[in-house]
Amino acid sequence: MAERHASWVYAVVPASAPSLPVITGVADEPVRLVTHGDIAAVTGSVNAADVDEEAWRRRLNDLAWLEHAARSHHRVVARCFETAPAVPFRLATVYRNDQRVADMLAQRDRELAQALATVARRAEWGVQVFRPPPQDHHDDPSAVDYNPARPGTSYLMRRRAQRSAVEIRRRSAAEAADEVHAIFQQLAVAAARTPPTNRPAGHPGGQEGRMVLNAAYLIGDDRRDDVAAAARELGERHPALQLRVTGPWPAYSFVEIGEGVPA
């Protein structure tokens, strides 16, 4: 029985982009361009039976496969982004065939051209700020006088001092997060601040400290030195905080497009 193929779209690039890097996609398939006018979709052929709705439901629970797919998808998007402006498509944006991909390009060509203009000569930078984990409060003398005649009162006083110390730390970390955000926002043409994600240490994506800033910035390539300088300066100004700056990334947080289901 002949295998039916579907078209998986990774990204949209200008049709005039320099030749596509030699790279394979999620199904180890070579990727190619489907072109319409000035824009082109970076596309690969995958087995249609692997990406229909039922297969998807099954695969959403298959963490190993999802990880492989996400990594392969990102690898293709990232390679495109290295050589030309690229509008990333959401993982698993799949069309029945190349004709449908061309139809999509025709239908959305204005939106896509605009998205390409938005990302051209710009990149996404991720910035996260963590405040350190608390010290063990049991060996924290907290400068509260211990009164041996009133151990219960001393205990409550110590707890109160600890709580207010925690409160101060939390507030100053929140203020530092706002400052970091303001500084990167000045460098950026767009910013996306999302709620901090906190997972316990030792779990996937877990960390020791508490995340107080989780943001992405779309920044012009001509300001890369400024990004590095800002990261350095903020790190020096807030030695107690952990500042994590990552990038340059394709502009996932700003122009990602896709239906997410077979179309």
Binding site: P151, G152, S154, L156, R159, N198, R199, P200, H203
Partner: protein, 92 residues
């Protein structure tokens, strides 16, 4: 993908249950402590009442520590991750 979970290990089912019970007790203890601090700050407790409350809460904390040690649980084990709501007990 998931946070701290109470695991019901098949060979030691009582461990998960113990963690759950201790979590609830610890939550109540912390709520009482916060309430005591609030009342102390408002000045509506006599010195003796502050002393009694403090001693009770301190004893409860010591008990809790012993129980945790006995069952080999850490403070973090007693903290359920409620996803977007954060954690059940304040992390710090």
């Amino acid at each position: 993908m998931t946070g701290a979970r109470i695991e019901f290990e098949p060979e030691r089912p009582e461990r998960g249950l113990t963690a759950l019970v201790l979590t609830v007790v610890e939550l109540l203890r912390q709520l009482m402590e916060r309430q005591a601090l609030r009342r102390m700050e408002h000045g509506d407790l006599s010195d003796q009442q502050v002393e009694d409350l403090g001693s009770t809460l301190m004893a409860l904390e010591e008990q809790m520590e012993k129980l945790r040690e006995h069952f080999g649980l850490t403070e973090e084990d007693l903290n359920l991750d409620l996803g977007p709501l954060g954690s059940l007990l304040p992390r710090d």
